[in-house]
Amino acid sequence: MLLQAIAFYVFAAVTVASGTMVVVSRNPVYSVLFLILAFFNAAALFVLIGAEFIAMILVIVYVGAVAVLFLFVVMMLDINMSKLKEGFLDYLPIGAMIGAALLAEILFGLGVWGSGASDTVQAFNSAGIPPAAIDNTRAIGQVLYTQYFYLFQVSGLVLLVAMIGAIVLTLRNRPGVRRQRVSDQLYRSKEETMTVVKVPSREGV
């Protein structure tokens, strides 16, 4: 228990500290790196409360994919940070308001916490699984693909639309681009591309 308590306070402190550093650090690359640290410690906190599936997904999706792309973009930009920081205090009230709104949403979510739990338990009972035998990967799958199936599909559709949108925005037809056609290359035969010449010694071709 003591080890867990120590772990919790360490992870929580590092999460908060690195969250602050994301905002205040001068270099945008450092900001992204601190963001990654914050993600990582949040994942560790999830592990501590026994939500190992969410923790791993957090690391895979946010740290492994999203933050890499962030880092890509930020590293390639030549940002003058001192100029960017000038408006820091002007934007502070708006930022604080957004933060307050998010906090209010979380508190509201906590207020109705557990009201969907009976449905979940019912879903498990109807699937014939004893509640003790459920690890949380299975629990999430069981609920996600039964009770919340349509919501799950809709969120998938939203992502698909976003993906198509990104492709449409960046797709352009450039004339005169010479592309390699792999199938053509693979179908070339030895006869049409290569001639074997027997060169007589000291005479040349």
């Binding site: 228990m1 003591l2 080890l3 690359v29 790196l33 990654i36 190992e52 599936f53 791993m56 997904i57 690391v59 895979i60 740290v63 492994g64 994919a65 890499v68 880092l71 890509f72 590293m75 699984i129 035998a133 690890d135 949380n136 990967t137 299975r138 390699q180 792999v182």
Partner: protein
């Protein structure tokens, strides 16, 4: 003796010490095998090219890895004056560390695993997706165009091939019904043709090729293609900082081979499930399977030329991604309609 055991298993300090000891028990053999992997690699290339390979230091050149290591330790670590000092030093540590922490969930034998967690496969996937940070930070912190280009290439390559590795993992997950690596191995018990390499052969091939790309090995070693980028992301690194990248690369190779043998070659299982073969400890079978996959790694490096960058991306996104996605759907359909869905 009993007092020590009670202390180690019940007291919180004892548990911490026990965890530390377990980590050492995995890390030390791993580092020795990393050292000897460099030796074996060079020997295999040498015999492919009809040379002798390292044969001067020690009998059969067996002390060569230690001589190389000593040389790297004793050399001066140079930090370029325009580099970002802190990140420049952190990057190789990250690259090396991510290759080591993943071993926490690898089962060496029945019950021989440091952390027998329920999401072992996801943990491995998460850690292997972190490996890219060491490289990308190294490229940026070096403040050099070759290093940066190499890092960008490498990051794009690793992100692309992780997608198909993810689908391979999902297929195996469908067939076992568990994310726990020990259960994945136990689901493959029996003869060697019960292991997943045969029913999931296309996925095994995709997994192996993606593993080559993931570890930046030939034919996908574009991040460090000498002719274009000097040495890629570690151009500016010297001495032990370079050594850590090098060790990390080999540790990653061994890790992916271990993952391959857990997922497809039955982990610690003996290939023939009766007496004289089952007497051999599971660790030995596991090591043999890893060694077999590592040999194919070296063999590939000795045989194939390097891919061009657009070919690499085409292979990842236009061939492996659709094929592996299709195979996931096919496997799910076969399991569902054949009535073979694994029971929890």
């Amino acid at each position: 003796m009993d007092a020590i055991i009670t202390f180690l298993t019940t007291h919180w300090l004892g548990q911490a010490i026990l965890i530390l000891l377990q980590c050492l028990a995995v890390t030390v053999p791993l580092l020795v095998s990393v050292a000897y992997m460099t030796y074996v690699d060079r020997k295999v290339w040498a015999s492919i090219q009809l040379r002798r390979g390292p044969n001067v230091v020690g009998p059969f050149g067996l002390l060569q890895p230690f001589a190389d290591g000593l040389k790297l330790v004793l050399k001066e670590t140079i930090v370029p004056s325009s580099a970002n000092g802190v990140l420049f030093i952190i990057a190789p540590m990250l690259a090396f560390m991510t290759a080591l922490v993943a071993w926490a969930v690898v089962p060496f034998d029945d019950g021989w695993v440091i952390a027998d967690i329920n999401v072992g496969i996801l943990y491995l996937f998460a850690i292997s997706s972190l490996g890219v940070y060491g490289i990308i930070i190294a490229g940026w912190a070096s403040n050099s165009k070759y290093a940066f280009l190499g890092a960008l290439r490498s990051a794009a390559q690793m992100v692309s091939y992780e997608v198909s590795i993810g689908f391979v993992l999902i297929t195996v997950l469908l067939c076992t019904g568990s994310l726990n690596l020990s259960k994945v191995v136990l689901a493959q018990s029996g003869w060697f043709f019960n292991w997943f390499w045969l029913p999931l052969l296309p996925m095994f091939v995709i997994f192996f090729i993606s593993a080559l790309a993931e570890t930046n090995r030939t034919p996908f070693d574009l991040p460090m293609s000498e002719a274009e980028l000097v040495a890629g992301f570690h151009t500016e690194y010297s001495a032990m900082t370079f050594g850590l990248f090098f060790l990390g690369e080999y540790a990653n190779m061994i890790l992916l081979s271990a993952l391959g043998s857990v997922l497809f070659l039955g982990g610690w299982m003996s290939p023939i499930p009766f007496a004289p073969f089952t007497w051999v400890p599971g660790v030995v079978w596991f090591a043999l399977k890893i060694a077999f996959l590592l040999f194919i790694f070296s063999w590939t490096k000795g045989t194939l030329p390097r891919y061009r960058y657009d070919q690499l991306m085409r292979l990842g996104w236009k061939v492996f991604l659709p094929v592996s996605l299709g195979w996931v759907v096919l496997t799910a359909a076969v399991l569902q309609f054949g009535g073979w869905v694994p029971k929890p």
